[in-house]
């Protein structure tokens, strides 16, 4: 692939990418979140069309029209998330879309052989062909997925973060499988954040940064540190407005938090006026941490303590024994403010009443009611001010919405416009405005700047700074390191479900954060 370009609207996702993979080679594709790896692979597998550039496959110009075409040409892709039909059997999943048939009748024996053959290549012949895949452990499901990719005898196999849901042992197994595939002449493009893995499996590497190829070479002669430098080495172009603010008393304490699967162990303390950045790779458990704190996901263990004036019904019953804690000595606030209480029933409603607010990373799926109006999306958590004798006044609701729209500089026809018609940046401002209207004291912001334009981003940074200056506490989850370093007071880094390091932002460098995030 040479000089491949791809733009989405005004966003230049890929600017100048070159990648070459030899037959039988395992090639590591490395880059930060948003560097363009996924876009590049989607072009290669036919899901996207490039704007410019050449792709050659076996010396022939290659331009896949759609994923089916790419598959027929020998490109197979295994996505990070498993794509299996959970109720179908192993055999049916392996042959999905490739069913050998004669006049529409399935050929049983041939089916059996094909599936068996694919599994034998992985030395997994003992996998029961008839078992529904949802009865298998995750690692074996992944092998089924690989087997499915092998049925067509691919020339190039793309694996996107294949180990993110695997244990150490299963990872070792997978590496052996990759080794065997390469020995048979299959090229493997291996995408992973875990550089040690790349070093073990791959012979060569290519590093992407901001949609450009910034380096490539032999794995054997490069040090991990050099690769990290290539991944990060950008100049700090964005300007982050900093509103001066002082840190106050602790308002939120999270102790030994663990969820069903993620997070595994998180301890953190949030103080009034503090902007706490949470860094980590995708899948490290940052979103899950915020959801667990807010009460959207169940806790497996640990405690969430909110400090300050909590309504009596949110204070837990006696079974949560160590509820009232000694006031922390750090704060300069008087001690009557320093009483911690863990939230009892742990529902979003309780959290909202205790002054927490969550901005979902998933604006369209979870964050907004797309076919409802701007006003309805701004105000649902606090309709009280518009109610008299139990009746809502749309006029007052719209007046309040108009006020927020002015303050947040939202471009819309009016408060009654369906929010689905607005641009991403304006939608996000409304979603954030909901927390402001609720007057939340503790804001959990999950990727607040994802997928929005630069102007809106700057506005949101400024807003976060102002909130902190008002004494509000902000938990800022982001995969974009410059903004974390530019905006936050404190940064914690998560790796594989654990909060592994917390330091003041000034003591971090991008390099160090990435090293901590990949567990190096």
């Amino acid at each position: 692939m040479a000089c491949v370009r791809k733009a989405f609207g005004a966003t230049q996702a890929l600017r100048n990418v070159a990648l070459s993979v030899a037959p039988g080679e395992a090639h590591a594709l490395i880059g930060e979140n948003g560097a363009g790896k996924s876009t590049l692979m989607k072009i290669l597998s036919g899901a996207y069309q490039p704007d410019a550039g050449n792709i050659t496959l076996d010396g022939q110009p290659f331009r896949p029209a759609d994923p089916l075409h790419a598959r027929e040409c020998g490109i197979a892709m295994i996505y990070q998330e498993l794509n299996l039909a959970p109720h179908l059997s192993v055999e049916e999943n392996i042959l999905l879309g490739e069913e050998p048939a004669r006049f529409g009748w399935l050929d049983r024996a041939q089916r059996h052989n094909l599936a068996r053959h694919a599994l034998e290549q992985l030395q997994q012949a003992e996998l029961p062909l008839a078992a529904p895949v949802n009865t298998l452990p995750i690692a074996q499901q992944q092998l089924v997925e690989i087997a499915r990719a092998l049925v067509r005898e691919p020339k190039v196999l793309i694996m996107d973060e294949p180990t993110s849901s695997l244990t150490q042992l299963d990872t070792e197994n997978l590496f052996r499988v990759i080794g065997r595939l390469c020995a048979r002449g299959v090229s493997v493009i291996y995408i992973s954040h875990f550089l040690e893995e790349c070093q073990r499996v791959c012979q060569r590497y290519t590093v992407l940064r901001d949609g450009e190829t910034v380096g490539s070479g032999d794995m054997a002669v490069v040090r991990v540190e050099d690769i990290i430098r290539l991944m990060v080495g950008r100049e700090l172009k964005d300007i982050y407005p900093r509103t001066p603010h002082a840190l106050g008393a602790p308002v939120l304490e999270v102790k030994e938090l663990a969820g069903r699967t993620k997070p595994r162990r998180v301890n953190l303390q949030l103080r009034a006026g503090e902007i706490f950045g949470l860094a980590g790779l995708i899948g490290a458990g940052r979103t899950e941490t915020a959801r667990a704190v807010f009460g959207l996901d169940e806790l497996a263990a640990g405690e969430v303590c909110v400090c300050g004036n909590i309504p009596a019904e949110c204070v837990p019953p006696a079974r949560h024994s160590p509820t009232a804690k000694e006031p922390s000595a750090i704060g300069d606030q008087p001690s009557q403010e320093g009483i911690f209480s863990s939230i009892a029933t742990r529902s979003p409603a309780d959290s909202l009443r205790a002054g927490l607010g969550l901005l979902s990373e998933n604006r369209k799926e979870e964050g907004l009611m797309l076919n409802r109006s701007v006003a309805d999306n701004l105000t649902p958590t606090r309709l009280g001010p518009f109610t008299r004798f139990g009746l809502l006044s749309s006029r007052r609701q719209h007046a309040a919405a108009r006020e927020w729209m002015t303050r947040l500089d939202v471009r819309a026809r009016g408060p009654e416009q369906p929010i689905g018609e607005l641009s991403g940046g304006n939608q996000q401002k409304i979603a954030l405005g909901r927390l402001l209207h609720h007057d939340a004291r503790i804001l959990l912001l999950d990727e607040p700047t994802r997928g929005i334009d630069v102007g809106s981003k700057a506005h949101i940074y400024r807003l976060i700074g102002e909130l902190a200056a008002q004494g509000k506490a902000v938990l800022f989850i982001s995969s974009y390191l410059p903004e974390l370093l530019g905006v936050c007071d404190t940064i914690g880094v998560m790796c594989r479900g654990e909060l592994v390091a917390t330091r003041p932002a000034v003591e971090w460098s991008e390099h160090e954060i990435i090293a901590a995030a990949i567990g190096h």
């Binding site: 959207l296 529902s347 979003p348 409603a349 959290s351 909202l352 009443r353 969550l358 979902s360 799926e365 979870e366 964050g367 907004l368 009611m369 797309l370 076919n371 409802r372 309805d376 649902p380 958590t381 309709l383 109610t387 139990g390 009746l391 809502l392 006044s393 749309s394 026809r413 369906p418 689905g420 018609e421 909901r434």
Partner: protein
């Protein structure tokens, strides 16, 4: 940017007055058909032939059928026939707006007629019958709501089960036959108090009053906003601290109560408890709500629209009778109209999305 000005006129018209346009189209269709039928009969009676003969028939016809269709009495009949579907549609609107569905309406209504009739047999007065039927309907609705909310079962399946179960209970209570009673004032609810004047029966007033109340509840109360929020995006509703399960339970229970009331109105009209009555009513009710502009995917819909939808169904039935169409014709037409209304809904959504 003002996107509404870019949409074609028809789309904008339909988005604002869709249900009313459908009703107007149905009424106009019958006026035209009846006028044509009257003229055709006149033409046949006078032994006229050809185009000029037809024109002569159009001029000389008495238009008996059309006049009867457009009379005050017919208007009152249509309103009276709307009551049962309208009351049920009030509850169904809430459920559909919350992205749910309730298929058990017909069975709950039948159960309500049986229970009411049995109570009348035992000498219970009208207030007692009303209270019992409302409570019974609310109980069945709450059961639906509890299953939907607590166990996260699909409303379609839960209420499909309830469709069978409630019908079965009705037949069991009634001993598999109609429940008759001698004297009761239950009939006053749906009988015309003023056959020559303009005053419709009390049931119509009850339905109109409840429609106003429900419209206010849906639009002007926190509960109403929560119904729309849950239907529009349940994940967001949860994120915003709305107690989704409790709200759903309340929605289904309140709707069940309205279904129970619809049963009392049917009992008043039939003058007997019939466990096999109201079969297929759920389709009329859902059709009324959908014709009224609600989307089965939730988050949109209005009480006014549903009422117009219910009226449309009644006009269709009455008009078909005036045309002397057999009942299977009515069924085919209503079936077609449901599909057309849903199609229009999809078309409107796709136009609104772009």
């Amino acid at each position: 940017m003002d996107t509404s000005t870019q949409r074609p006129l028809l789309v904008r018209l339909f988005a604002s007055f869709g249900p009313a346009l459908i009703l107007a189209a149905v009424v106009l269709l019958f006026i035209g058909l009846l006028a044509w039928k009257d003229a055709a009969e006149q033409m046949q009676a006078a032994g006229l032939k050809g185009f000029s003969g037809f024109l002569q028939a159009v001029r000389e016809s008495n238009y008996d059928g059309l006049k009867a269709f457009l009379s005050l009495a017919t208007f009152k009949t249509v309103l009276t026939q709307t009551v049962v579907v309208a009351l049920a549609a009030l509850g169904m609107t809430m459920i559909i707006v919350s992205a749910g569905i309730d298929l058990s309406v017909g069975s709950v209504v039948a159960l309500s007629t049986v229970a009411g009739a049995l109570l009348i047999q035992k000498g219970v007065g009208l207030p007692g019958v009303l209270a019992a039927c409302l409570a019974g309907g609310a109980f069945v609705g709450a059961l639906n709501g509890a299953l939907v909310a607590a166990f996260r079962l699909t409303p379609f399946i839960v209420t499909l089960g309830m469709l069978g179960a409630a019908r079965g209970v009705a037949k069991w209570l009634a001993g598999n036959q109609t429940v008759n009673f001698k004297e009761s004032n239950i009939g006053t609810l749906m009988t015309d108090p003023d056959p020559l004047g303009a005053l419709p029966p009390p049931g119509v007033w009850v339905a109109v009053a409840l429609a106003v109340v429900m419209a206010v509840v849906m639009r002007q109360t926190v509960f109403g906003r929560h119904i729309f929020a849950i239907g529009s995006n349940e994940a967001t509703a949860r994120l915003c601290g709305i107690r989704v399960r409790t709200t759903k339970l309340a929605i289904y229970a309140l709707a069940g109560m309205l279904f129970g009331l619809a049963g009392v109105m049917l009992l008043s009209r039939l003058q007997q408890g019939d466990p096999t009555s109201a079969i297929g009513l759920e389709l009329d009710v859902i059709a009324a709500v959908v014709i009224g502009g609600a989307s089965l995917s939730g988050g949109t819909g209005s009480i006014l629209g549903a009422m117009i939808g219910a009226l449309t169904m009644a006009v269709l039935r009455t008009g078909s009778q005036y045309m002397d169409w057999p009942s299977y014709m009515q069924e085919i037409i209503i079936g077609g109209l449901i599909i057309a209304a849903v199609g229009l809904d999809k078309w409107r959504q796709s136009r609104a999305a772009t």
